[in-house]
Subunit: 203 residues, 2 copies
């Protein structure tokens, strides 16, 4: 991907035609049901009925309510984060990006989805689609910075030290704002410059 | 508090006598109910009945189920973290401490409490008792390091960059182990040394 590209590909596949209409109706139905009742009272059959879609095709497509919940959470949590900042400076890019995430995930509807996602997780997973997308977005900004010769953290460090604290605070009900996001970015930048300096001393 | 003290005060007040017996019975009853059903199906009246305690006194003492849930979660999440490592070296202390947290919060019962805590949060809170205790523990190790003249992060940085990622991964069902905890500590140490070097350059 060219370093000047300022948008990643749409993270959740949105199929066209009838399939897209079914997906849209099912996502909307689940969203409404979640506003009315708690997550563990919602069944796939109920969602199908509310969406006016044949339950059999809903079962065939999603298998169980947790799979559907996860898909809706990913769609809701990443829809607005598709355009990746490109200011020609990693700090400015990360500040902008972390600020967008902070604003996005603190909206009441998003908080509800985040918590639903947490309560939908009974088993350990190997990866989390929503985090994977954040990591890809971070890589795009980091790769541009490396091409410009700027010291840069790894995308895993951005995930651990910027994205994780933001999500952790929101799920635990602690306050999150742009200032907090900018402070996390400043910490991860300090980390990157220390690692770069250590690398220089070794040469 | 003396720098050689190797244990903090017990974080959750455990009153004596009848009051202690009621608290213990109520905590145990809630723990058992949580193993049988989901959080939002549990009422304070049910907990009182299971504990064999007068519902009126349960209502008077805790007010609502969320307050009780929070108290039980804090007790469950911090009971084993009371002894703070003291190796005479901040990296060793933080590695040990973060490793204990990682092992503690990944136990199935703890994961259940963490998720229950998340789902019990409907509103934004200004602080989270469980995090406050972690911050006090971090401060103890950091203050000792500063007295020894070691570069040290702030306790807020330890909270944001070691504790938050651990809790975030566990609540989202992502794998957590001692190696991951040690990697987070190494990142926050790099951060601290960069800030110390920046401070030196300014003088």
């Amino acid at each position: 991907m060219s370093p000047s590209t300022s948008a990643t590909s749409t993270p959740v596949r949105r199929p066209g035609g009838r399939s897209a209409r079914v997906q849209e109706a099912v996502h909307t139905a689940l969203g409404r049901l979640m506003g009315e009742t708690t997550r563990d009272k919602i069944t796939l059959r109920q969602v199908a009925e509310r969406a006016g879609v044949n339950p059999t095709s809903v079962y065939r497509r999603w298998g169980d309510i947790d799979t559907l919940m996860e898909e809706v959470a990913v769609a809701a949590l990443t829809r607005d984060g598709d355009v990746i900042p490109d200011h020609g400076d990693l700090t400015a890019d990360l500040n902008d990006w972390a600020g967008i995430i902070a604003e996005d995930i603190t909206r009441p509807q998003r908080v509800r989805y985040l918590r639903a996602m947490v309560s939908a997780r009974d088993l350990q997973v190997d990866n989390c689609p929503c985090m994977d997308i954040r990591q890809q977005q971070a890589e795009l900004m980091i790769n541009r910075a490396i091409e410009r010769g700027e010291p840069a953290p790894t995308s895993q460090q951005v995930l651990d030290h910027v994205v994780s604290p933001l999500y952790h605070r929101v799920t635990f009900g602690l306050p999150v704002d742009r200032d907090y996001a900018v402070r996390l970015v400043s910490d991860v930048r300090a980390m990157a410059s220390a690692l770069t300096n250590a690398g220089r001393r070794e040469h």
